[in-house]
């Protein structure tokens, strides 16, 4: 064990000595400087080890040989050890990162840095409130000087504003300390807490608490007293910003944490309100921010708000501190390492505006790290923030603090909005051929180190949180990690490895699942395998493609095996983020991916809120099965949780992301998104229905609402599909509509309805996978997605044509292929259920589907070929092969529907009394019957007869060339004028005009614009004038007083 006192001793001894040692040269100075920092780090790591591995007792050091309260004491326990380790690692790494900057500034800069580190350490260790003040001043003064060190106008201005704020804060702090001293007769924090002095509500003591916390709230950069902080983050050298944002803010937060037990009820609430307001507002304002370091500043400030809110809530809603210690630690360390890492990257890239960050694309390592840190900040699993946020929201739910849930979730969404926009620009922004970032090894090293720490910490926190089925839940991550090892090898090897690990995972899951879960995981894993095979048609794949694909598929499969809410939510998020990262690989998919991520996250946050409501009625509920006990809150919970699923199935109103994302994603990926990913939402809805049945919202049954939602989705999406010129966009809308039918089926809550849904789930996977893959092959060969730029490809790509033909027949529900089975089940179910009007609309939608089906196949394959496509080759075998597997399935289930329907019927049987019976191969419902086998034979038989007949009759028929037609008494010669494909359904569009207004898109655009405008109005308070910032600080004082004096 190292005596904590040696930290200040070493820091000061070295700092005082360095000016003399300067004459021995820079190298000596640097060695000593790093030795000192290294000593700090080593000492704190030793403590960390002692407390967590050896359960050592808390270290208490009394100075001057007297016990407190006579003397000042330092304390290092497990919490302090964690903080110190983080801070000292940051300092060491930060100093390493800043080395050239320090070298330029000279020796004194190292002194400043060393003392800055000392200040932070002191803030963490001291247990004396006045000593805390002294260390706070050391930290602040050192940071003022570090900020102004480069003597640029901006950093000087920012530093000056900071100093004004800091001076005000220290005046308030000192005021508070002296009043507290008078009241308690001691300066020792533990003594003060023990004396219970602050429980007294005399004005003097309340005033003391007021001054104390006001000061720390200012130091925590709470709204509106934080203009200075933003300037500092923007102007300072990013290496310094990293130290301030992570290090000193963290240390100050810990100081606040330390003295927070002094606060009374009113302060718990004030902290919660101020913190969550700051979190929301700074993220809101950041929406319009384009300057990277300032953007990060807003994010930092927001994170401080989040921490303060969590602290406040922790005391406000329950006194069980241990749970909150976990939450605070998770949120804190998450922010700590991620933000430092991002600032460092900002320092490497040296691009001020987010639009210029596309330069990052040339450097995959940096891009990867940026993505990692941003994901951490967003609270994606497995980062610590995820576990923290989950626990926090659950706790808030348990204690009925839903305004907190709402604010924190809203703020998180806003944060995602601007961080992901930034990442999107880095990933897919327009490239400029200017200076590329050229990171030094040193810089990459420290940034990478922090990424590693972030991941490790996340794993550690997750390990504490995931108590049951740990391995199942983290399996996807492990698989992805394994596949990362194969990056850089040939595509074949990567695909092979992916198939192997997925198969392995399938075998792992197999014994865990039965019934519906088995069915869905079969689609997720089996479908995934098939789609992975199809990816081979592109000979080159950028790094990360296969790990992400496998992550996506396997996390979806885990959804079916999840027993706990947390495990489910975790894998839901994994699926969302991996699919986001996949979508954004499309060449022009920046905006689409952004929208996708935003809607998905919004949905996921709503799900989180739903689970949190469940905590209210069933505290401590961890299992999904606990949803069954929702009772009177069933309606709310169902509505909230279903949001996530509705987004994923792109139900009307939540569908805005889908057409763009499907269209712009890479072609084979689109097939996976449509065929497989959308089914995750269906699985979710089924799960909800299984556990919650059909809850009521007041007197309205929610499954009726869901049913109508599905119906309208099916109708409108189909309607939009027919007016698309882009083949993928057409199929995208089609996909939305088809999934709408499945939603209808689920919503019916009947045996037949679910059969319809399950049948259609598989069928949609088959034909939409088929269609998207076929179209991918076409795009691969022709290089365009616009259907009117193609034509007559049937002669060049007959196999693909056949695929598409089978696909559209199956899609449109024309007998005898599988599509009809879905339609039959659906209408039987609808009429049985009494949903007549819905059945009518669904029928309308399904006839409209013919229009786009025909358009798709006509514009691409029929008509007259374009001159430049006369030599187009058939799609590669590697993409045809999976298509023909799908076709085989379609034929099998068309011929023998019973093979699928009977097991499905058995799967649904536990939930509803079966209303579908069998007479041989004839399925008999309460209304009608259908024999798919006879139908198939009949059709084939008649078809064969007619075919033979025609063969005989048209013996002498001659094939003619494309233009061999008579068109308005002349022979046309150009396909552009002859191939009728562009604006194919214009008359229909004219007829349907009233239904085609994009009201929902306008609605969401309005929401987006109003939110952003709100941000830009609010940010006017940061007018850049240091004096105004001082006024805002005084304003915060008055606000806080009003908030707290009432009690």
């Amino acid at each position: 064990m190292v005596n904590p006192i040696f930290i200040p001793v070493a820091a000061l001894g070295m700092a005082f000595l360095l000016p003399v040692l300067e004459r021995f040269g820079r190298k000596t100075v640097n060695v000593l400087f790093f030795l000192t920092l290294g000593f700090f780090t080593a000492a704190s790591l030793i403590w960390l080890n002692d407390f967590f591995m050896a359960n050592s007792p808390v270290l208490r050091v009394f100075t001057a040989g007297f016990k407190p309260p006579l003397s000042i004491n330092l304390q290092v326990g497990s919490q302090e050890a964690m903080l110190l380790a983080a801070i000292n690692v940051l300092s060491l790494a930060g100093a390493f990162y800043l080395l050239p900057h320090l070298n330029v500034t000279g020796l004194k800069a190292r002194v400043l840095f060393l003392l800055f580190t000392l200040g932070m350490n002191g803030l963490v260790m001291t247990r004396d409130i006045f000593n805390l003040f002294v260390f706070l001043e050391i930290t602040s003064i050192a940071s003022y000087a570090l900020i102004g060190m480069d003597v640029r106008l901006k950093s000087l201005t920012a530093g000056f504003k900071y100093m004004i704020a800091g001076s005000l804060a220290s005046i308030f702090l000192l005021f508070g300390i002296i009043l507290l001293y008078q009241a308690s007769g001691t300066l020792n924090i533990d003594g003060m807490i023990a004396s219970g002095v602050t429980l007294n509500d005399s004005p003097l003591i309340q005033g003391a608490a007021f001054m104390l916390f006001l000061s720390l709230f200012i130091e925590m950069k709470q709204f509106p007293a934080n203009g200075w902080a933003l300037d500092v983050y923007q102007a300072a050298h990013p290496g310094i910003s990293a130290m301030i944002s992570a290090g000193s803010s963290g240390a100050i937060f810990f100081a606040l944490y330390k003295i927070f037990p002094l606060a009374g009820e009113n302060w718990y609430l004030a902290a919660a309100i101020t913190g969550s307001t700051t979190f929301v507002i700074s993220n809101l304002i950041a929406l319009r921010q384009r300057q990277v370091t300032r953007l990060l500043g807003y994010s930092s400030v927001g994170q401080m708000g989040l921490l303060l809110a969590a602290l406040g809530f922790g005391f406000y809603v329950n006194r069980g501190r241990d749970n909150y210690a976990f939450i605070l630690a998770a949120l804190f360390f998450n922010h700590f390492f991620a933000k430092a890492g991002l600032y460092w990257i900002a320092g490497i890239v040296k691009k001020e505006r987010i639009e210029e960050w596309s330069a990052l694309r040339r450097n995959p390592v940096l891009l990867f790290l940026t993505g990692l840190f941003i994901l951490a900040l967003l609270g994606a699993p497995p980062f610590a923030g995820f576990w923290g946020k989950w626990a926090l929201i659950m706790n808030l739910g348990r204690e009925d603090t839903f305004w907190g849930v709402a604010l924190l979730l809203f703020g998180s969404l806003l944060e995602a909005a601007f961080l992901l926009r930034w990442f999107g620009l880095a990933m897919r922004g327009a490239t400029h051929d200017d200076i590329q970032p050229s990171p030094a090894v040193r810089e990459i090293f420290v940034t990478g180190l922090f990424a590693l720490i972030s991941l490790t910490l996340g794993a550690r926190f997750g390990y504490m949180r995931l108590t049951a089925d740990l391995w199942t839940y983290v399996f996807p991550l492990i698989l992805a990690a394994i596949l990362f090892l194969f990056e850089g090898f040939s595509v074949y090897l990567r695909v092979m490895a992916s198939l192997v690990v997925m198969l392995f995972f399938g075998f792992y899951l197999y014994p865990l699942e039965q019934g519906l879960a088995f069915y869905f995981s079969l689609i997720f894993i089996g479908g995934g395998l098939l789609m992975l095979l199809a990816t081979l048609y592109q000979p080159r794949r950028s790094a990360g493609y296969y790990p992400l694909l496998v992550l996506m598929f396997s996390s979806m499969a885990v959804l079916t095996a999840s027993k706990t809410q947390l495990g489910f939510f975790m894998n839901w998020e994994l699926m969302t983020f991996s699919s986001y990262l996949l979508i954004i690989r499309g060449k022009k998919s920046r905006k689409a991916a952004w929208l996708y991520a935003l809607f998905s996250l919004g949905g996921a946050l709503a799900m989180l809120a739903g689970f949190s409501v469940l905590q209210l009625i069933r505290p401590g509920a961890e299992l999904l099965a606990d949803l069954a006990y929702a009772g009177e809150y069933g309606g709310v919970i169902f509505t909230l949780i279903s949001m996530a699923f509705l987004v994923k199935v792109a139900a009307l109103g939540w569908h805005i992301w889908a057409p763009d994302a499907y269209a712009e994603a890479e072609d084979d990926l689109t097939a996976m998104l449509s065929a497989i990913l959308s089914k995750a939402g269906i699985w979710g809805l089924l799960l909800l229905a299984v556990f919650m049945g059909a809850p009521l919202w007041h007197s309205l049954s929610l499954n009726t609402v869901l049913g109508w939602l599905g119906t309208l989705t099916a109708f409108f999406a189909t309607l939009y599909a027919i007016f698309q010129e882009d083949a993928k966009r057409l199929l995208a809308w089609s996909s939305i509509g088809q999934v709408g039918y499945i939603v209808m089926g689920v919503a019916m809550m009947s045996h037949l309805g679910w059969l319809a849904a399950l049948w259609h789930t598989l069928n949609h996977f088959l034909f939409k996978g088929l269609l998207f893959l076929a179209i991918a092959g076409v795009i691969h060969r022709t290089g365009t997605r616009n259907m009117y730029e193609m034509g007559g490809l049937i002669k060049r790509m007959p196999f693909t044509f056949f695929s598409v033909m089978i696909g559209i027949i199956a899609l449109s529900g024309v007998p005898p292929l599988t599509g009809f089975g879905g339609k039959w089940l659906l209408y039987e179910a609808l009429i049985e259920k009494g949903w007549y009007l819905q059945a009518g609309v669904a029928f309308f939608a399904s006839t409209i589907a013919f229009l786009y089906c025909y358009r798709l196949i006509h514009a691409i394959f029929l008509g007259i070929p374009k001159p430049d496509q006369l030599q187009v080759r058939e799609a590669p075998f590697r993409i045809l092969f999976p298509q023909y597997i799908l076709i085989a399935f379609i034929f099998v289930f068309s011929l023998k529907p019973a093979w699928l329907l009977k097991p499905l019927s058995a799967m649904v049987a536990p939930y509803f009394t079966p209303t579908l019976g069998w007479q041989g191969d004839t399925a008999v419902s309460s209304l009608g019957y259908w024999n798919g086998t006879v139908m198939m034979i009949l059709v084939v038989f008649i078809f064969a007869l007619v075919l033979l007949n025609l063969l005989w009759m048209s013996r002498g028929s001659k094939k003619v060339k494309p233009f061999n037609i008579v068109y308005a008494a002349e022979k046309p010669d150009r396909p552009q004028t002859t191939h009728y494909a562009w604006h194919f359904f214009t008359p229909y569009q004219r007829a349907m005009r009233p239904l085609l207004k994009p009201l929902i898109r306008h609605f969401w655009q309005g929401v987006g614009e109003w939110t952003a405008t709100g941000g830009s109005v609010l940010r006017r308070i940061y007018n850049g004038n240091g004096q105004s910032y001082a006024m805002l600080i005084l304003l915060l004082a008055i606000i806080l007083f009003a908030l707290t004096a009432g009690a």
């Binding site: 007559g792 049937i794 007959p798 027949i809 449109s812 529900g813 024309v814 007998p815 039959w824 209408y827 039987e828 009429i831 009494g834 007549y836 009007l837 009518g840 029928f843 309308f844 006839t847 409209i848 013919f850 229009l851 089906c853 025909y854 196949i857 006509h858 029929l862 008509g863 309460s926 209304l927 009608g928 019957y929 259908w930 024999n931 006879v934 139908m935 009949l938 008649i942 007619v946 075919l947 007949n949 025609l950 009759m953 048209s954 028929s957 001659k958 094939k959 003619v960 494309p962 233009f963 061999n964 037609i965 046309p972 002859t978 009728y980 194919f984 008359p987 229909y988 007829a991 349907m992």
Partner: protein, 305 residues
């Protein structure tokens, strides 16, 4: 096994019957329309002459496999549709293959031939074909809406989707016909029927009197013959369907002949009186009045439970 063979034999007989019936109905109707116009008109056996002419044409060209397969699809669709509908109630040999599926199957099988022919016509590369298909499809979507609503109302009324059961429920006099028991559904269904028969005023996609615009533009010779054969079978099948749904079905062949002819005459009559609609006009027309009636029909049953 004997059962199957017997069924096939019955089916073929039934098919021959309906084919000739269809040919004659078309011929007779043309004659009647001509008389209404004050012309003499073609003889009632003209369709047979047309068919023979098409088959015996010496020049025969095609544009590719799909073009070639289009008529096959079309005729398969027509025959198949007929095979799924029980033509005469109680008659064993005119039950066809209606045991393989109910009303839903019948409705969806209507699309089989349409889709196939649309694919074939598309390959001809003639812009008029594509245009005709576009118009036909657009128009069909609209006219199917009231039809679907009518069927739903009927299914709700009888609690079954089996055509035989629906007919059975209507036996026992005109008072039991759907026409009487469910007039709204019948009205919606019959208005939709106007569109489904693709007769004037809803025949823009065929535009029979003017330049050859429509799916069949490029079809010739034996291909056209197949289409013509289909026309008679397909039309008859639809007539029988409507008869079964709304007018009590038929218990004997003469009853069937009379009823279907009257139903057909209804659309001929409307066609003689009204001029042709443009696509958007017909789409909107179907989505207004007939759909409203259909919705009303359905809502009544929704409310009653």
């Amino acid at each position: 096994m004997d059962g199957i063979v017997l069924k096939v034999v019955y089916a073929i007989l039934s098919l021959i019957l309906i084919f000739n019936y269809g040919m004659l109905v078309i011929g007779v109707t043309a004659k009647i329309v001509a008389r209404a116009h004050g012309r003499i008109g073609p003889p009632f056996y003209q369709p047979y002459i047309d068919l023979l002419k098409s088959i015996s044409m010496r020049t025969s060209v095609h544009h590719g496999v799909m073009f070639w397969l289009g008529p096959v699809f079309r005729l398969t669709g027509g025959i198949g549709l007929y095979m799924l509908i029980p033509a005469v109630y109680g008659s064993e040999w005119l039950q066809n293959f209606s045991f393989s599926g109910d009303l839903i199957l019948v409705i969806y099988f209507i699309f089989f031939g349409m889709l196939g022919m649309a694919l074939g016509a598309g390959e001809s590369g003639h812009p008029f074909s594509a245009m005709g298909i576009m118009r036909g499809l657009a128009h069909t979507t609209a006219s199917e809406v009231p039809f679907a609503l009518a069927i739903i109302a009927v299914a709700a009324q009888y609690h079954t989707l089996s055509i035989s059961d629906i007919v059975a429920a209507q036996q026992g006099g005109i008072g039991h016909w759907t026409l009487m028991t469910n007039p709204l559904a019948t009205l919606a269904g019959m208005l939709a029927y106007l569109g489904m028969m693709m007769h004037s005023p809803f025949d823009l996609h065929m535009a029979p009197q003017e330049i050859p615009v429509g799916p069949v533009t490029e079809y010739n010779s034996s291909y056209l013959a197949l289409m013509q054969s289909n026309r008679s079978i397909f039309a008859s099948a639809k007539l029988i369907l409507f008869m079964n749904l709304f007018f009590g079905g038929a218990t004997s062949i003469p009853e069937m002949v009379v009823k279907t002819f009257l139903i057909f005459f209804f659309c001929v009559f409307v066609g003689v009186v009204f001029p042709r609609f443009r696509v958007e006009q017909s789409v909107r027309w179907f989505l207004k009045l007939p759909t409203m009636i259909g919705v009303l029909a359905v809502v009544i049953y929704t409310v009653h439970g």
